[in-house]
Amino acid sequence: MIEQLTVFLENTEGRLSALCRSLADAGIDMSALTIAEVADYGVVRIICSDPERAVDVLDEKGFRAMDTRVLAIEVPNKPGGLADLLETLGKLGVNIEYGYCFSIDSNRAVDVLKVSDPQAAAKAVQDAGYKLFTLDELV
């Protein structure tokens, strides 16, 4: 399990850029960033170094930020990598709230998944033969 940085942003000009600049100024290194949005606001989810410090930095800058536990699961970087994982999770009864994926080299990809019971899900996917990344391996 890793800590993901989650930030609430109003859908106004310059907020995403202010967010990224604040993290840059604090020397926080990002490995992945994804945005979910509706008309008025968005939720930005970020994999980065030192997420706890990132929350403090952003709080001070007037952002509403929090950290969230997610699973970062290693899958082979080839067709069917994600599909296999999802089928396994389906069989295990693990319910996914949201997720996003990125590749780290030509052989490996990372599937970041938010599940309702991360503790139990972590154990179940590891028992099924999958490897979980630590934050240090990703940033």
Binding site: F8, E10, R15, A36, Y41, V43, G62, R64, M66, T68
Partner: protein
Amino acid sequence: MDTQQDILTMPHEQLEALQLEGVKKTVVACYENVAFYRESFDAAGFDPYAVESLDDLSKAPFVTKQDLRDNYPFGMFAVPRSEVKEIHMSSGTTGVATVGGYTDHDLRIWGDCFARGIRFAQGGVDDVCHICYGYGLFTGGLGAHYGSLAAGCTTIPISAGNTERQIRVLREMGSTILCCTPSYAMHIADTAIEMGIDPATEFSLRAGIHGAEPFSNNFRADLERKLNYKVLDVYGLTETMGPGVAIECWEQDGLHLAEDHFFAEIIDPETGERVPDGEWGELVLTSIDREASPVVRYRTRDITRFLPGTCKCGRTHKRIDRLHGRTDDMLIVRGVNVFPSQIEDVMKTFEEASSWYQLELTTKGSLDVVTLKVEVNPGFDFDQMSAIQNLQRQIKAALKTALSVGVEVKVVEPKSIPRSEGKAKRIIDLREGAN
């Protein structure tokens, strides 16, 4: 030092006898010295020389803020200008200002009235009283100032603004009593926390005497936690004196009216008739011993009620409930009457929502559109989009139930609702034809 304990615990019948004497003098002085009252009493057929009981006063006509404005600047004075030693004025943001004049005697009773709040907090010569209401024509600053002097405190007349300096002085001078608006007290607390100072341990506050704007019990609890002190609500208005007309005692169970200086009635704002004790209505005040600017049946537009029973503190002066809005703060939205206090009541039921919210009224086509912007509290788990949507939906439903008006709810980022150094701005009316 005179603690006025005898006056504050006087049997109520005795107090009423004192009130009757005062009211009789006031109506006669107004009739004989103020052209406006002479005309309005005559027009209403009210004989100021025939008042035999406090009930007889209900035959007198009301005086309104507009009447005071119409007689700007000195038309309502009941003494020669040379006896008026100080002038205060309401802000006048909604029209011509109203003027209050004070003789030496009036200034002394004002100080005594405000000092009661400090005495209710067991305050006196051992206290340092930090006053950051604005000084000037606004009655907040000098009213608290005279009260602090009357109670014997060391007075710090720092006025409003320059919050970092306020924080330094509060910390370094060990102020024990804080007088300002509740929203400014919150701003001081939050700014101190941002500066890395914990006001709960690094300040020495015991009591805050906060008024000039309504605040909820949640807001009070927040303040008391952050500043580690006890908050007393103070009520007053420039038109009848300034802060000190009524103040909460240490029981925090209603505000004791200064009944030795004011005779209060609560009326139905529609019919003008007195309502039974315990029922909500508009507060109407008559001066008992004000010399320069006495009022007879001044309609305050403030909604409150008399609290039944006696206070645990043992003082006999009647209590009014904390204000429940103003008759002229009422908004008419798509034909429906909406009181800001109703919105406050709804918002305080949501733990996730902070006390920073604002209602924005706009026009779309010919329809009023109401949008409530709210900042969420730090503990709120918004990681899933649905969490924010659910909160917005729940607030919207609760507002719809309470107000019978549809309100769009938007969660906004921290600090995006403006923090004011004076009154909190809860309502922004951008409707065409508004104001």
